[in-house]
Structures are given as C-alpha cells and as structure tokens.
Symmetry: C2
Subunit: 291 residues, 2 copies
C-alpha cells in the first residue's frame, strides 16, 4: 500500500505490511515518476535521507543509500561458494545492481539478466545510473523475457550459478517460489551448481522460508542454507537469502579468494560472509538448518 | 514523536526519526497505559503482531517479539569476552531484560541494575513479566537512582563488567555518552574490565558512534570494538553496541564456554558472536575499527 500524506509540512512515503503489523516510512521531497507498466505499478521518489527510491506495487524495491547490502549479499556469497563460476544467470534483478556485483568477479565469462519488465531497467538507467555501470560490459546480456520460460529452455547443465533477485512471491514473481521452477533450475545447473534466492525476513516470514527450503529440496537440490543481512528499507530491516546446491552440500567457501577479491565492497568481506551464514537458534530450530 | 491515527479501521503507532528521514509503524489494538513519570513519558501498547510495546518519550523501547536480540547481544558478547565476570552493573535497563540475561551466567556473583526511573521497572513487572523472571535472584540488586552518580561513588576497580543499557543520548541518558562518565567507568573497572553500551544504528548514526568511541578512548579505555545485530523495531532495523576495554585489547572471547553455555538463547551463539564482531568495510573505514 502506498500512502502519501502531508503533515508537519513534510511528505512521507509509507509501506504497510498489514499482515506483519508493521510499516516503514521514508520522508520524501517529491515523487519523480510513476507509471503502470505491462506488469506492475512502478514509482520513483526523491527521499530526504535515502536518495532515490524505487517502489513496485507499493513495495520498496531499493534506495540509493542501502541497496549495497542487498546486492552484495545476493551475489558474493554464492559466487565465492562455487569453485569457479563462469556462467551466471540473474532472474529478475531489473535494477541491474546484482548484475554489476556479479561482473566484479573476473572469472565470470557470461552474466545474463532475465528481467520480465524492461521498464524497470529503463528507469534504473535513468534514476540509478551507478547500478547500471556494468550494463555495457561485453560479458553482460540483458534479456527482457519471462525467467520461468527462459529457465525451461536452458540446456541441461549449462549454468553455474542462478541468482533469483525477484519481488515478493505475489504478482509476477509468484512462479519463482515453487517446485516446478526449482526443478528447472536444478536441471539447468551443472554438478555442484548453486541457486540463490532472496527469502524475505527471518523474523516475519519463517513460514515462507520453510516452504521455500522444502520446495528447493523437492526440486532436487541436495542441500540448502539461508544467510542473513540487514536491509533497513525492507520490512523488519532484517533480510535473508537462501542458497541451494546441486549434487553436494556446503563445505565452506573460497575464503582466500574472497579476502584477495581485488574489488571494492561496502558490506561484504569473508568475515561478514561467515557471520551471515551463522543463523540464530530460533531460526535453526524452526527450519532445521544447522547453526 | 508519537502519532496515533485511525485509517482503514486500524490503529497504528508511529515513531518518526525526522533527522533520519525514516519512520516505523506498528499496528496496535489499543494503548494500555500512559503516564508522565518524574523523568519521562511512558506508554504501553498492545500491538497486533509484536505483543506488548513500551514507548518512552515517543521512542520504541522494546516489544515482546524482538527484544530477545537486543538483550542477548547487550549481555552475552561482553560477558564471554571477560575471562571471569563476577560483579556486573547494568546502568539503565529498567525493563530488567538485560539483568535476566546477565544472571544466566552462573559465575556472576552480583548483578546490580541502576535505573533512574523506578516506574519503568514497575511497568515492566506488570506488562513484560517474563523479562523480570530473575528479579528475585539472590544475586540481583535493583537500585533506583542516578547511574552517573552511582558510578562516581563506585570504589576503584570494584566492577568487572558495566552494561550501559540506556535510552538515546537525549533527555535523562545524555550524561551517559561523554568522557566524564567513561572516566568514572574506567576507574570503577578492574584491569581487563569491560564496558558495553548500546550505540545506535551503524547506518544512521555513524557520527554518534565515532564520537562515542573517541570519548571512550579519551576516558582511558585501551581499545573499543563495535558489534552489530538486527533490531527490527529500532530505526533502520540495524543496531549496534560498542565494547571498551580497560588496560588491554580484544583478543577473541571464551568461545568454548559460549558453546557450552548451558542456558537457552534465541539469537546468541559463539558463531553469531563472531559474526557480529565482523563489521562491514564502510563502517570500518568511517570509524577506524579493524574488520
């Protein structure tokens, strides 16, 4: 739900998570853009303290100020877990911020972004140009089509890492959170290949996380592991991503490569990565994940 | 600022952090209590999804649902860093949740809570009784007096660990964030003794954290280290505490004792502790802390 209100002569954007009994407000100067694309309602705001803000169907997608945590934690942990990721696919991720982080890895030979709504990317180019820095990288391919369909057509074993950087499991992204999709991902991955998907708040969405983990395993994945990070402009300010692996479990990650990564990060380090993997007891008890 | 509003037939409590350009809303059934104590305005709400909520001067203090993270991360990291904490003082902490966590450590011989406003504790006993579970422990002493004055009168070297669990550095807690107070803490601590203090949001309050760290070192502390944790009902959902040590630096913590702690925790584990110490590069760059 998007509510604009005038009070104390200031404007506030409000996202209410009614079922979670929680709401987030960001103070804004003005709304810069709004449109109904073929898929969803997209709005851009200029906030007083978080830079630009993109909202889809009333939900905060990203702000200038805090998107770095999400984009780094959706890409570097999974890429440093795979022994040598060369072919990477981002499903969704139309703001191009995840694609940019993926392309920081020199070993990546091809990074394909499959975003269903081209308008998200065009607006990101206009309002979040720094996230689109790598769109001209010769290794990048930007496709505007249905990620579920793309995955169905991907040759067996042709992908090393799949990053599902989607909106919440309502609307266009609903089909990205079920067994049928995970089976196709599993088939398209090579042995030891990895899927990672944003998996909502560890505090608010435990049931969704449990269902997602079960569906990943039903889809053929040998193991999964959820990691956590702060995300101040998402509900509860506490977010997660879940990795699933084909054919084998998780035995650490390439810590030495991560330490010598040779590119700048604002949130990610190997120590932060290790810390993010350490989930709290209440979470492990609910999901069956080892600490 | 507290705003109650009726919209869509639901009531919402709103805390606006105007200077941070951010606000938090919690959906409520009703306000159960409000009063102006000698020190501050205290309100208790019944929320739809976070259980009871305590608000002081318009700022969220705690909810039933998420206070466990804060209370565990204010107590267990510092207590497992000290080699053998026996005498522990909590400055503030009137809801008694930190005191309860401190008393889970069997080696603690005396835990003194010095809260200026007795009304906070009386309301906690009424509305958050589980946080007051340990108030009758023979090792507990509840004092209702000024923590700054108490610290000034504490004998030299008489305390092992000081936990400053206060409101924000405005109003009654202002005097807990400066060099004069830290000098008294330093004097009252034994060699290797530790102070820990809540230090606001790593994203929103970097300047405050830098000033606090500098004041701790000016006050005589040999080293300080900030750690992070989620706190969904505080601004940005991302919070921190800063430990300062007398006479020596930080060389790890008692990981084996933490692993064999013998009491239940919902958030804390030694792996979570290690992860919390790993602060992100943007933070380390701004504060000079090592990763």
């Amino acid at each position: 739900m998007t509510v604009e209100e005038k009070r104390d002569e200031t404007l506030w954007f409000t996202e209410r998570a009614d079922e979670a009994g929680m709401g987030l407000q960001l103070r804004i100067h003005e709304r810069l853009h709004h449109e109904q694309s073929d898929y969803q309602r997209i709005e851009i705001y200029d906030t007083t303290s978080f830079g630009k803000l993109m909202v889809i169907d009333g939900f905060v997608m990203l702000t200038d100020r805090d998107n770095f945590v999400y984009h780094e934690m959706m890409s570097h942990p999974v890429l440093f877990t795979h022994p040598a990721p060369k072919r990477v696919v981002v499903i969704g991720g139309g703001d191009c911020g995840t694609l940019r982080e993926v392309l920081r890895h020199p070993g990546v030979e091809e990074a394909i972004q499959v975003e269903i709504d081209e308008r998200v990317t065009r607006l990101a180019e206009q309002y979040f140009p720094e996230l689109c820095d790598s769109n001209d990288d010769p290794r990048a391919r930007l496709l505007f089509e249905d990620g579920i369909e793309w995955m169905r057509n991907a040759p067996d074993g042709s992908v090393d890492v799949i990053i599902v950087d989607s909106t919440d499991p309502v609307g266009p992204a609903e089909g990205l959170f079920n067994r049928a999709f995970y089976e196709q991902c599993h088939r398209a991955l090579g042995d030891g290949g990895l899927l990672v998907q944003q998996s909502e708040s560890p505090l608010l969405h435990l049931e969704l996380i449990k269902a997602m983990r079960a569906a990943m395993q039903d889809g053929g994945f040998a193991a999964c592991h959820t990691h956590q990070f702060p995300q101040p402009t998402y509900p509860s300010g506490w977010w997660s991503a879940t990795m699933a692996r084909k054919g084998r479990g998780f035995e650490g990650f390439r810590e030495d490569d991560a330490a010598r990564r040779g590119f700048e990060t604002l949130y990610y380090t190997p120590e932060v990565h290790r810390g993010a993997l350490a989930m709290p007891p209440f979470f492990c008890k609910a999901t069956g994940q080892k600490g």
